[in-house]
């Protein structure tokens, strides 16, 4: 996201607020460091003009906040939507999780967001400040060194294989739509598919063994919008917290969750972004998306409002269970 978009977003959002079109704005603001950009709700146009940040660090998907905010806030809620977040927005609407009339969406162009872990790894020491330049970040380190890091080296994986940079929902678009990424979204899934069952088991065992059951993946997920998760119910009989050693439940938790959101997951990649252990959870979801596409024809959750997902609709052409996807 360019500086020009940030200026435009600040100006336009403040205007909407002053005109009483929106009562508040879901956006991002700068935290302690230049890369530390946090989701927030703005209530005054002055705050918006001073603090709103729309840049490569505005990574958090804001759409899930609409569920609670549209219930609490008076009037219409403004929201800034990156293209990938707009799919979540539509999917939430499809599931009747908020009232569209209560929302005014500002679409943002996006060329990708930065994976701060990758950035820190690439810089290799403490970061003092960051200047965003065309195609690169100019990073001043704590030791006073200045390093230029090409953005292409620190973009999040989800952005390198972005499914679409065309926002699918907005009331008005801020700036020009950016061209799509050209990398294959399913290449990593294919790599996993080409493994033997033992290799694949070892891969997931290695990844999931680091899980600390913090539930960040679930809580951030726009598809996980149950008012009360079964895993938060101590009487449900399933392990809601870290189980005793050698239990397979933490693996089951992620697999069950992937099944639960199958057909509704828009591949926004928030689960992997927030994982403190950097488990590539989105690959489970992406495998399901790939399978759904090959069994039922191409389908993108959230591409349009009200579409019936293949897993909750029936046609006579559906593949038979147990036939390996054969019709």
């Amino acid at each position: 996201m360019q500086k020009i978009t940030e200026d435009l977003a600040r100006r336009r959002a403040a205007e909407l607020m002053r005109a009483g079109e929106i009562s508040c704005l879901l956006g991002w603001k700068k935290g302690e460091f230049d890369y530390d950009v946090e989701p927030t709700v703005f209530y005054t146009p002055e705050e918006v003009e001073r603090e709103l940040v729309c840049n490569v660090f505005s990574a958090a998907n804001l759409s899930k906040y609409l569920i609670s905010l549209t219930r609490k806030a008076e009037g219409r809620v403004g929201i800034l939507l990156k293209p990938c977040d707009s799919f979540s927005f539509n999917q939430l609407l499809t599931e009747h999780r908020f009232d569209r009339e209560r929302v005014y969406a500002l679409g943002l162009p996006c060329e990708g967001t930065v994976d701060t872990f990758l950035l820190k790894e690439r810089v290799g020491e403490g970061i003092y400040s960051i200047k965003i330049k065309d195609g690169a970040l100019e990073v001043e380190t704590l030791s006073g060194e200045v390093k230029e890091i090409p953005l292409s080296e620190v973009y999040a994986e989800r952005c390198l294989v972005c499914k679409s940079r065309r926002p699918v929902a907005y009331d008005e678009m801020l700036g020009e739509v950016t061209p799509d990424a050209d990398e294959d979204r399913f290449a990593q899934v294919e790599k996993l598919e080409s493994m033997t069952a033992e290799e694949r088991y070892a891969f997931w065992q290695g990844e999931l063994s680091r899980c600390i059951r913090c539930n960040a993946c679930r809580n951030v997920c726009p598809a996980c919008s149950c008012e009360r998760c079964v895993f938060d119910n101590p009487t449900s009989g399933v392990e809601t917290k870290a189980p005793s050693e050698d239990s397979f439940e933490e693996k089951m938790f992620h697999i069950i969750r992937a099944f639960h959101v199958a057909g509704r997951c828009t591949d926004c990649g928030e689960c992997s972004r927030v994982c403190p252990e950097r488990i590539p959870l989105h690959l489970l979801n992406r495998k399901f998306i790939k399978d759904i596409n090959s069994f039922y024809g191409d389908y993108t959750a959230g591409a349009e409002v009200g579409s019936r997902a293949p897993l909750v609709s029936y046609t006579k052409d559906d593949p038979e269970p147990g036939q390996g996807g054969q019709k």
């Binding site: 935290g31 302690e32 460091f33 530390d36 950009v37 946090e38 989701p39 927030t40 709700v41 958090a60 906040y65 020491e125 403490g126 970061i127 003092y128 704590l142 030791s143 680091r210 600390i212 059951r213 913090c214 539930n215 960040a216 679930r218 809580n219 951030v220 009360r228 938060d232 119910n233 101590p234 392990e239 809601t240 917290k241 870290a242 189980p243 005793s244 050693e245 928030e270 972004r273 927030v274 403190p276 252990e277 950097r278």
Partner: protein, 341 residues
């Protein structure tokens, strides 16, 4: 004080591994972690491990006891596995201090025998932070990253690793390293300590202060209206609590397996909706009160009950890991005062 040439670090590890199960921080693609040392293992070049060393003393999940029924009688099974003596090398000053905080919780009467036995068996070699990160704020809690605690305090300076025993356990451990260490003047490591002090004074969070928190602040801070704003975007996950070296809350549960019942305990998080749930329900029914609990505990309740000692060591893990970038630093900045104000 002793010293060991950095070129002989491998020999030092080998010597330690003869007497202890030795764990050192090693680098993985996704972060660093304490791993069992084996020949050729290289010590991490990252500042710190993704997870604190807390697990070695208070594991995320541990079996406490088992129950087996035989007709009318129930047999209690001791599931404790006696651990060998172990050594952790490369613990940072913040994490070493966090163990003192956990000690206050688990070793005060009635002591927790599971934790106590691990503390007894573990010897801690700390390592000064030559390259602190922007997320570090240990100095706000009076911790000096150039003089870490633990049993043996180490610092790399020039061509040497300097080792200073701080406890009897540490002295005993150092005695076993006589083949790879030699006596030296403690002033030799001073230049490095000065360098660290200079770096630390320039850290972006160097001005963070505990002013406004601590004993006697409960009434004033509990009812502060800004908790609602601070917690507005909190998604209620447990990341901050589970990467935290000082978070100490746990749950105890019974798990039925094929041959009986296992009673285990696992970390719990005050961010969760069923935290401290009682027959009368949850004491904290919304995310704002859960959020407030976490920070009030660290910044007010803990010092209130522990001679003014704060329940945070400024390791910065929560700063780096929170999905929505909300953390104790922002809470302290919002509700507290600044240094020199």
């Amino acid at each position: 004080m002793k010293r060991c040439p950095l070129s002989r670090l491998e020999d030092l590890f080998a010597a330690l591994a003869e007497s202890y199960k030795l764990y050192i921080p090693t680098d993985g693609e996704k972060g660093s972690s304490f791993t069992l040392w084996s020949e050729g293992a290289e010590i991490s070049r990252r500042l710190n491990t993704a997870r604190p060393p807390k697990d070695f003393f208070f594991p995320q999940s541990e079996d406490l006891m088992g129950f087996k029924t035989h007709g009318q009688t129930v047999e209690l099974v001791d599931l404790r596995t006696e651990k060998e003596d172990f050594a952790l090398f490369g613990v940072r000053a913040c994490d070493a201090e966090s163990l003192n905080i956990l000690d206050r919780v688990f070793l005060s009467e009635p002591g927790d025998s599971y934790y106590a036995s691990r503390r007894e068996k573990g010897v801690i070699f700390t390592l000064a932070c030559n390259k602190p990160a922007e997320t570090c704020f240990c100095t706000a809690f009076g911790i000096d990253p150039s003089r870490p605690g633990g049993d043996v305090s180490c610092i790399e300076c020039g061509e040497y690793l300097y080792l200073e025993p701080l406890t009897q356990k540490g002295e005993a451990a150092l005695e076993r390293l006589s083949a790879v260490t030699e006596d030296c003047d403690s002033a030799e490591a001073e230049p490095q300590r000065e360098k660290i002090a200079k770096t630390v004074s320039r850290l972006p969070l160097a001005d963070l202060s505990t002013e406004g928190f601590g004993e006697g602040k409960t009434d004033e801070l509990f009812s502060d209206e800004r908790w609602a704003e601070l917690s507005r975007c909190c998604i209620g996950c447990g990341s901050c609590t589970f990467v935290c070296p000082t978070c100490q809350c746990y749950d105890i549960k019974d798990f039925k397996n094929g041959s009986g019942v296992v009673r285990y305990r696992c970390w719990d998080s005050c961010m969760y909706s069923d935290f401290t749930k009682m027959s009368a329900g949850q004491p904290r029914t919304d995310q704002t009160s859960r959020f407030r609990q976490r920070f009030m505990h660290k910044l007010v309740y803990f010092p209130e009950n522990n001679d003014g000692v704060f329940g945070c060591v400024g390791c910065g893990r929560c700063v780096a890991k929170c999905p929505v970038s909300m953390n104790i630093v922002k809470v302290m900045r919002t509700l507290g005062g600044k240094k020199d104000e």
